[in-house]
C-alpha cells in the first residue's frame, strides 16, 4: 500500500502457527500488527500500541476469553473489533455482537476473506482513508469505489474493481494468476481461467478509450503500468 501511515491491528490468537501466518499475511498487505498469544497484558498493549482494529480469538486456553477482552477493549477505545472463532452457531455469533463486535470470521478462513473484512470495517469506521491511486490517465478512488479514465467514469463489477485495485496498489509489480486468485477468491475454486475471464472483461472496459494499461508478462502474470 502506498499510504505512509499503516493501519495498526492488535491480534490475540493462542495458536502460534496461525498467529504467525495471520500476522505475516496482514503485514504483507500493508498493516502493522502486534500479536499476543493470550490476554494477560492486553490492556497495556492496547494503550501502548493504540490499534485501529482488534482481531480476537474467542476461545483462549489461558486468561480471559475473547468476550472478556472485547469488553476491556470497548472500555479503552472506539476502534472496531473483529472476532475469529471456530464456532459458527447462531448463539455464539449473537454473543459476539452483544459484547460489541463489528464482525466475525469463522475458522478456517481464506486470507482474502480476512483482508476484505478488515479493510471493510476500517473503512466504515473511517480509519482507512486511501489516497487516490493514479496510473497514467487512470484514477482509482477506493473510498468511493470509482474508476475514472480520461475524465470518463468506468462502471466495474466488484471482482473487476478488486482485481484492478490489487494491481494498482503495487504498480509495476507482476502478479501471477495464483496471487490474484488467492487475493480475490481465496482459492475457493482454483481455476486460472477465472482470472482470464475477469481480466479480459476488465481490459475491455478500461482499455476501450486509451492505450494499454494492463500488460501480460508471458508465463509470469499481469502488471499495471502506464
Amino acid at each position: 500500500m502506498s499510504t505512509a501511515v499503516r493501519p495498526r491491528i492488535v491480534l490475540v490468537e493462542d495458536d502460534a502457527s496461525l498467529a504467525t501466518a495471520m500476522r505475516l499475511g496482514l503485514e504483507r498487505s500493508g498493516y502493522d500488527v502486534a500479536a499476543t498469544p493470550d490476554g494477560s497484558a492486553f490492556g497495556a498493549l492496547v494503550d501502548e500500541f493504540r490499534p485501529d482494529l482488534a482481531l480476537l480469538d474467542v476461545s483462549l486456553p489461558t486468561g480471559p476469553n475473547g468476550f472478556e477482552l472485547a469488553r476491556d477493549f470497548r472500555g479503552r477505545t472506539d476502534a472496531p473489533l473483529l472476532f475469529v472463532t471456530a464456532s459458527d452457531t447462531l448463539a455464539d455469533r449473537l454473543a459476539g455482537f452483544e459484547v460489541g463486535a463489528d464482525d466475525y470470521i469463522v475458522k478456517p478462513f481464506a486470507l482474502a476473506e480476512l483482508l476484505a473484512r478488515v479493510s471493510a470495517i476500517l473503512r466504515r469506521a473511517g480509519r482507512l482513508i486511501s489516497p487516490l491511486i493514479e496510473v497514467g490517465d487512470l484514477v482509482i478512488d477506493e473510498n468511493r469505489r470509482s474508476v475514472v479514465r480520461d475524465g470518463k467514469s468506468i462502471p466495474l463489477t466488484p471482482t473487476e474493481f478488486g482485481m484492478l485495485v490489487t494491481l494498482a496498489r503495487s504498480p509495476g509489480r507482476v502478479f501471477s494468476k495464483g496471487q490474484l486468485l488467492s487475493q480475490l477468491w481465496g482459492f475457493s475454486d482454483y481455476d486460472p481461467n477465472l482470472v482470464e475471464v475477469h481480466m479480459s472483461a476488465l481490459r475491455r472496459k478500461v482499455e476501450t478509450d486509451g492505450p494499454r494499461l494492463i500488460h501480460t508478462e508471458r508465463g509470469r502474470g499481469y502488471v499495471l503500468r502506464p
Binding site: S17, F109, S176, G178
Partner: protein, 338 residues
C-alpha cells in the same frame, strides 16, 4: 439408525420424561383393571390371562423393570380377586390360585426379558449420542489447525517471489486445506441436523434467495450459463433462510460440477408447496442409483464433492417438513408453505 430408534419412543428403548412415565403407568393400570373386570364377568377362563401380558410387557418396555414387576403383581391381584375371592361358587379354588401364581411367574419372566432388550437399546442410544458429540467436538477442534495451514499458504502466496512451481504447490495446499475445511463444516452441520437443533423461522422471498445463491455461484463459474426462472411475483415462504440458502447452494454446487454449458434454476409455488428445481445439462444420474446419492459419504463421481452436500440438503428440507428428490432431469426441493 437414529430415526428407527426415535420413532419407537412408545415401543421402548427411549428415556421418557417423568410425566410420560406416569401416564404410561396409568394407562397400564387401567388396562389391567379392565382385564380383571372382564375376567370376573366371563368367569374363570384360562385363555384370558394372556391379556394381562400386553399391558405388563408394554409398561416394562417403556418405563422399566420396576413398573413391569408392579404391573405383574397387580395382574396377579386382579386375577386372584376375580377368579378366587369374588367367585365363591368356583369349586376348584386351589387350581384357580395355582393358575394365577403360574401367570404371575410367566409375567415376571417376560418382564425380565423385556428389560434386557430395553437396556441394550438404551445403551446403543447412549453410544450413538456420545458418537455424535465426539464428531462435533473433533470437527470443531480441527478448525484451528486447518486455519493455520490455510493462512500459512495464503501468506506465502503473497510473498514477493513467484516461482510458478512453488505457486502450484501452494495452490494445492490451499485447495486441500479448503476441502478439509468444507468437510469439517459439513460434518458439524450433519451433527446439528441429527440433534434436531432448532432453526429460527421468518418469512423470506424464495425468488430473492435463488437470485442471491445463483449470484454467488456465478462468480466462481462464469463459464456456465445460469438461468433463473422464479416467476414475476415474489414467493413468500416461512423458513430459515440461511438453511434453505445452504440447501440450494449444495444443489448449485453439484450442478456446477456436472454441467456442460448451462444450469437452470426454477422456483414455483402452489397453495401448499414451494418447489425449487435445479437442472444441469450434464450426463445426469441413472435413476437406479439416484437414491443412494442422498446417502452420507456417497460420491458417485470423481468431481471432488464431500459426499455430504445432498444429505445435508435433504436434512434441511426435512427439518422444514419438506423433501428433496431427483426426477431424472432435475433435483427438486419441496418445502410446504404451512
Amino acid at each position: 439408525m437414529s430415526s428407527a430408534l426415535s420413532s419407537s419412543r412408545w415401543l421402548g428403548g427411549t428415556e421418557l420424561s417423568r410425566a410420560e412415565r406416569q401416564g404410561a403407568v396409568g394407562v397400564a393400570t387401567a388396562a389391567i383393571i379392565s382385564v380383571g373386570a372382564i375376567d370376573y364377568a366371563t368367569g374363570p377362563l384360562l385363555s384370558l390371562s394372556i391379556f394381562y401380558l400386553v399391558p405388563v410387557a408394554w409398561v416394562s418396555a417403556v418405563v422399566g423393570r420396576r413398573a413391569g414387576v408392579a404391573a405383574a403383581g397387580l395382574s396377579g391381584a386382579a386375577g386372584l380377586l376375580s377368579d378366587v375371592v369374588l367367585q365363591p361358587h368356583y369349586r376348584h379354588r386351589a387350581i384357580a390360585t395355582w393358575n394365577v401364581a403360574l401367570m404371575v411367574v410367566s409375567l415376571l419372566v417376560v418382564v425380565e426379558l423385556v428389560e434386557r432388550v430395553r437396556a441394550r437399546a438404551l445403551a446403543a442410544q447412549a453410544a450413538e449420542r456420545r458418537g455424535r458429540e465426539f464428531l462435533a467436538f473433533a470437527a470443531h477442534q480441527l478448525r484451528t489447525p486447518l486455519a493455520g495451514i490455510r493462512s500459512t499458504a495464503d501468506a506465502l502466496m503473497l510473498g514477493p517471489g513467484n516461482d510458478p512451481d512453488e505457486e502450484l504447490l501452494l495452490a494445492g495446499m490451499t485447495r486441500e486445506a479448503d476441502r478439509a475445511g468444507r468437510l469439517v463444516s459439513s460434518l458439524l452441520r450433519v451433527a446439528r441436523i441429527d440433534q434436531h437443533e432448532e432453526m429460527p423461522l421468518r418469512v423470506a422471498d424464495v425468488g430473492q434467495m435463488v437470485h442471491g445463491e445463483v449470484g454467488r455461484v456465478r462468480i466462481t463459474s462464469p463459464h456456465l450459463a445460469w438461468d433463473e426462472d422464479t416467476g414475476r411475483v415474489p414467493i413468500a415462504l416461512r423458513c430459515n433462510p440461511d438453511a434453505v440458502g445452504e440447501a440450494l447452494a449444495n444443489l448449485l454446487d453439484n450442478a456446477r460440477r456436472h454441467a456442460q454449458t448451462r444450469v437452470v434454476v426454477r422456483a414455483r409455488a402452489s397453495a401448499q408447496d414451494v418447489l425449487i428445481e435445479v437442472e444441469d445439462d450434464g450426463a445426469g444420474l441413472p435413476i437406479s442409483v439416484a437414491e443412494s446419492a442422498f446417502d452420507r459419504f456417497v460420491t458417485l463421481d470423481g468431481h471432488g464433492g464431500t459426499g455430504l452436500g445432498l444429505p445435508i440438503t435433504r436434512g434441511i428440507a426435512e427439518a422444514h417438513g419438506g423433501d428433496v428428490c431427483y426426477t431424472g432431469a432435475a433435483f427438486v426441493i419441496r418445502l410446504p408453505r404451512r
